[in-house]
Amino acid sequence: MSEGVSHKSQDELYFVVRNHEEQYSIWRSDKQVPEGWETQGGPAGKEECLSRIEELWTDMRPASLRAAMAAAENGNS
């Protein structure tokens, strides 16, 4: 009912994007994707992209942290 700034048109399309830390976001499909981000899906409506991210982004720790924690775990055992 009160989701964000909603004066934009409803049929704007987005990409699902992901960076080197495997963090996800969305990006308007009519604009150039910023450096360091890869397209993972879309173009699609915003809600569709966000629900796709809800499925894909299962571990919200940045990739480098995940790696560091796994390394520390192995070092300790």
């Binding site: 960076n19 976001s25 720790r61």
Partner: protein, 890 residues
Amino acid sequence: MGHSRSSHIPGTARDARAFVHSLVRESALARPDAVALTDGAGSRVTYRELLERWERLATALREWGVGPEVPVAVRLERSPDLVVAMLAILEAGGVYAPIDDSCPAGRFAAIVEDLGAPVLVTDRETPTEVRRLVGRIVHPRDLPDQAAPRALVTPPALHPDNLAYAMSTSGSTGRPKGVGMTHRGLNRLIRWQAADGPAGLATVSFTSTGFDVTFQEVLGTLATGGRLCLLSEESRRDPEQLLAVLEKEGIERVFLPYVALGQLALAARRTGRVPGSLKHVVTAGEHLVITDAIAEFFDALPHCRLDNHYGPTETHLVTSLTLDEDRGAWPRTPPIGREVDEADVHLLGPGLTPVAPGEPGEIHVGGAALARGYLNAPALTADRFLPDPFSPGPGARMYRTGDLARLDGDGLLHFLGRADDQMKVRGYRVEPAEVELALSRCPGVREAAVGQRTLADGIRVLAAYVVAEEGVRPSVSRLSAALKQSLPGYMVPARYAFIDAMPLSPTGKADRRKLAEVPLPGPADRGVTEPDCATLADAVAAVWQRVLGHDEFEHDEDFFDVGGDSLLAAWVVTELSQLAGREIELSVILRNTTVEELAAFLAAGPATSPTRRPASELITLKPGSAGNVLYLFHPLGGELLTYRELARRMESPVRVLGVRWAAGPAEPGHEPSLEEMARAHHEQLRAVQSEGPYLLAGWSFGGVLALEVGRLLRESGQEVAFLGLIDANPVLDPLSGLPPVETSYLTLLGQVLEEVDRRAADGEDSVDIAEFSSDRDWVGLMGGAPAAGVKAAHLRRSLAMARQSMGALVTYTARRYEGDTDLFQAGATGPGLRAQLEAGLRGVVDGSVRVHEVPGDHTGILASPHVTVLAEAIDAVLENIGKGNDSDGS
């Protein structure tokens, strides 16, 4: 991440410089004997003790499996324990997750569930729904006493990108959401704060634990070896007490939301006192306005610096402005300043394109200030944390704040408000969707929308627009009471407008622009038609303003919700008596808690004369289900203000009604006996609730009344499910252990009465109470010192009533009570006296006597902070009674 391994510090791995708790440890090791914490009431904790306590708790937490990425929920009063818990959780590698004090049980449970916290650190009873969710609940003091922390558990390999804390904030999905901040972000903030002023400033901890400014206060101070003064909730709410603490403790720095700064300035103006030790004031969280009072305050403190900070929870501090040394140059609405440290601000328009200089744009924050995101909420995070096309480094993110600002010619940012629906109420962030969802669940509500409206006097409040189910328009008080069960107080709307249909925008959403034009109900719609009420309301508001020290209240807001307490209530009533030219009783403000109601009461003319009203009278202390009522009986003075705090702190779904002696002191020779008083109360209870089970309780003399009324109820075949004696005893005085007839109270009350009369005859109409109130017996007897400035007539009345009650108690012989009782024993009572009291009680009670210990002395158990424990103890007993009834199949 730096690589300079400056010193090896046990308990941490990697680079110790990357962690704030290591910074605090360094300052603790450098000055172990320096005072780290004070509480404004005389207690002190040195850095050595602080370090020992936090290491002990950290060791225990690690043994329980707390480590990197594991949240620990914390619900503690602002106390040394809170600081110990914060540092211990960071040290253990866990995620510090504070739960706001004002959080109702349901919301508390939702937050804990979303966090998935295995451990809760708390100093109070925990609601059942929360208890089910956490594996372990620990009181910070309940730890095995170890001489030195054991190093058995391997220190966690903590990484700067691990989470340091999680803050809950209002969520547009209808549930609160948790912002997860990393050690890197926290460390950056505290280092910036430490470098932004001289080290070691004595700082007061004022901020609510639910705001991230607490870290600047607590860790920013301790990391530079400063002294942190933890304010009691009472001093926090009362600007004059805050002023006194600032002076007494020699406080040099304070972080205050804008409203509190305004109140402090007004208190300083009113009392003519200025905290001369103050060197640095930081305000954040709201639109700063330099009011006349604030300007005067700083004029009197020529060397005190004022900073204005801006930063949402998701990014931490973003910008800061230090106001000019030339006070004459201060603008009325100062800018929020420039970016600090490594935060990057971009002002963007549609399509994320930068706006032209001077044009308004939405603040997007990039750089090192960003949180990781919203815990366990990937979609929500992806929607607000976007790719940052302006960053020199690839793959960076920026946070879309929803705040609007513009950049002026000097490169300073000016805050302009919100780009979306989110609102700020008293500094708290409120998502209207969360309130709308809660409203739509209320019975009788078909559709609801919420918006922020500015009232005539420039104050912003939450307004609800409600489309009711046909024919069942719910009452405002019912809606408000229902919302208070699930939302914190600041999210409950102050105005309700009933509309026939929800206006819709072309996209099918509620049309907020049209809603903002819906007329709001004012005082005129509330059944007050007296022509002079508008002026009377203004007069009452002026009294409140004088007494409360601020004007941040609406005419329909509850006195006790805007900073009033029982002492201040006595003052208000005294002033109102003068205004009305007639005696007004203290209880009037309990029945008429808003400006409107008080004005209506005054407009209605003299109250019915005391002879015509029943001697026993009931007053709602806390609304709730009418089928479940707890009656609290008045103490010696006949009035109920003593119970106000207790009723407010209780979370049981019961309605709390106070039972007062409305007749006041009788003509000499006509004084009622205690049995007669109890009979009058019994009759009144049966009149409003014809059948049991009854729940009764009372403090001190009120407990004896409750017992006698309970006996009468049982005698007439009614069930008494709860009889609570709050440090009360029917046969012995709880302070001395003597039978009442052997105490000197009756004489003492007589002497004080004579003294008051003598002074009144000398023309002193206001009595300096300090002389009486310093006597411990007096305070014990009357439940606290009367407020300064109480008029002699008022004091006389309550003294005469107390003497009459005492007389009744002295001649009373307790009869056998055949049911069970719950004794809430003041913990400060010595073991000998306690045994004596319990034996006395068991002598007249045939059923069981369950003893619950509550910290504090006879009067202290009804005052903050102990009253919270008392409220929880009573809640727990009432909850069990509820279960007992269920298992009976009733």
